[in-house]
Symmetry: C2
Amino acid sequence: MHKYPKNILTLIAFLKKLPGVGNKTAERFCFDLIKWKDSDLKSFGQLLSTILESIKKCPICGCLAENEKCHFCDLSQRDKTTLCIIASPKDLYLIEETNSYNGIYHVLENLISPMDGFNIDDDNIKKLENRIENLKIKEVIIALDSTLEGDATALFIKTKLKNMDLKISRLAFGLPIGSSLEYIDGGTLAKAFTGRQKF
Amino acid sequence: MHKYPKNILTLIAFLKKLPGVGNKTAERFCFDLIKWKDSDLKSFGQLLSTILESIKKCPICGCLAENEKCHFCDLSQRDKTTLCIIASPKDLYLIEETNSYNGIYHVLENLISPMDGFNIDDDNIKKLENRIENLKIKEVIIALDSTLEGDATALFIKTKLKNMDLKISRLAFGLPIGSSLEYIDGGTLAKAFTGRQKF
């Protein structure tokens, strides 16, 4: 096989680092990119080079903040008695879209995952405990994935917070809206049974 | 919905311009990118900003050339009696991978597509005719997609070149290797019948 020019190969290697992008897709992206207008490519490149400087993590909750002040830590506008624990800043926007929560957030960054070598940052847990104490939080909602990592982390946090006077809850498990029993796996169905609600 | 920070929105807008990437995938790419190392993002951004300057199109055949001299126009190493017409520089690498062609190439850039407002560049066709005459090409292989646009363009080129003394061929249509008749569409099967070969 005749190899692509060196810069094309490097570009393909970068694109392959994106989640779910294999060789073929990266090649497709690459050959699409070199058809873009030079000005677009320059702006895109410039944005990528500086994105980490322009997007700061809020030192209090860990969400993405554009200005010095984090929108989601502004207690005048949010309910300061409930705190929602999430794995990544992205989850915050998914929750905000539902319009069903108006409390404050705490981003964990990593879930416990021995396979990937990730552990919970002790400083972050200490920060979480301090926030709960200082703000006199009444309820902590654990909004983590329903995966092995999410389960392990939820259990770890529950153990860490068990001596504090607060309600700890986790997102409900059950049938997704619009789903048919026929296509639901056994684990979900079992959870939906044990978690059944008065109707 | 609470909007993402402005730079995140811009980054998502750029990522959505990639082929086959919708809103959800662009968001996923974006939140993956902001987890990359800053040095990686800087190199990636730098590469994108300069890619069009480092990758030149060969003025003769239209393929990607790293140096002044295009590897595929180097007549000392290639068979100069056959010329293969392709739609994009990417197709060249796909053909080279098969090791079944050693002639020279000509890139059209655009196929005829009234829907997208693309037409064949007259200068490019003139250049093609000149190359065929000057190099005394004996066979022109039209290696365009089997789509409406590919068919229209192939027909157009055939008409343009009909007064020249050369063999014009097009890639064979038929069953893809490893396929089962059961899953083949009628159009392909009909083409495979009319194009059947002595066995």
